[in-house]
């Protein structure tokens, strides 16, 4: 369960200050499937970084799993992120020196090597990339890199999945596959929050929130 209360994020100061988030409050319950839509620059990725404990708000409070995130040490935050949250970033952030398989194994470094590789291969198979497991990112198409990022987000079967434009580089068939995987994870009880500018993608979710100039609204 997630509870954001009056979250504000300001970059810069004075004349150049940008109010990326403006008093955003929202509650997400375990098992929710939420889509966040809104124009370019409206604050969606900033919101996701705060939800994922990757960034700290300027003001406001964030409770994750009943605990006040702002009271956690960096070590505790890292623990929450690694064990409970899977990320799909808008620009993937894959490691260019590692193969697709090794990139997907990264969140599982605390597990035995054999189990780790098996889990990574299963995740890559779910996104249709079994024939690209030993390719490095620069040997993959844009959509293939995006799918490796998705496989990496799923491999620990995290309680919360945060996906930023996960189908932005995918054709309709790959998109449907990926959304099908997210749907089945949600049916199994995982919470999914996905950012999208595509209304047909948002339709897969059960709740749609809209951002506009840093403020959040819930659809009627």
């Amino acid at each position: 369960i997630i509870s954001l209360e009056a979250i504000t994020k300001v970059y810069g100061r004075g004349e150049a200050a940008v109010r990326a988030l403006d008093s955003v409050s929202v509650r997400v319950h375990a098992g929710d499937f939420v889509a966040v839509m809104g124009p370019s620059g409206s604050g969606k990725s900033t919101l996701m970084h705060i939800l994922g404990c990757l960034d700290v708000p300027t003001t406001g409070s964030y409770r994750f799993g009943g605990e006040d995130v702002s009271r956690m040490s960096e070590r505790e935050l890292a623990h929450v992120r690694n064990r409970s949250i899977g990320f799909v970033f808008q620009q993937f952030h894959l490691l260019s020196s590692m193969t697709a398989c090794r990139n997907v194994e990264l969140p599982l470094l605390y597990r035995a090597a054999r189990d780790r590789r098996a889990a990574a291969l299963r995740a890559l198979d779910r996104v249709g990339l079994s024939d690209r497991v030993n390719h490095r990112p620069n040997q993959l198409s844009g959509g293939q890199q995006q799918r490796v990022a998705i496989a990496r987000a799923l491999v620990t079967e995290p309680a919360l999945i945060l996906a930023d434009e996960p189908t932005g580089n995918l054709d309709s068939t790959s998109s449907r596959e990926v959304l099908g995987v997210l749907r089945s994870l949600n049916d199994a009880g995982h919470t999914v929050i996905l950012i999208t500018h595509d209304a047909t993608v948002a339709a897969v979710a059960r709740r749609v929130l809209t951002m506009s100039d840093g403020t959040l609204r819930e659809a009627a």
Copy 2:
């Protein structure tokens, strides 16, 4: 005018060989507006790199403006690219240490500083980013970075514009703006080739080519 004849591009060798392009032949005339569609991994970005003289085919010939590209020296190729082609890459490739304005000025380094800055500001204004000219890429949203990449591609008003998924990170309003800019450039005589997995984006073009496993088909 572009003429590709039996272009093949193979990566790797033996068992691991990937036939990214398989005997692709196509002609594009000055002033054409072409969309290239196809599934993830079908070879679209590879085709664009060859069209843009950024990569060399394994076999086949490429004539650009009546000249055999494979006969050109690296210096001549660089000259063709800088003066005649504007690129929007699938992953933007902006320089992270420079502001949006400086990134857009890059293709104009052969011009006087004052004209360069004025042209860059006009290009950024056309994509709705006048209030972000001094931001660096990591201070911009995904869609804003994409629009900076688009502004950079337009700033020399090149004869040929090659755009790879230029609206992948854009909401419908920004998408429409960008496609409007490409449409007006085309009306002014510039040739536009754009890759997209979005049928509504392809609808803005006048010719639609489809790629599938490295082969190219023209729509009926």
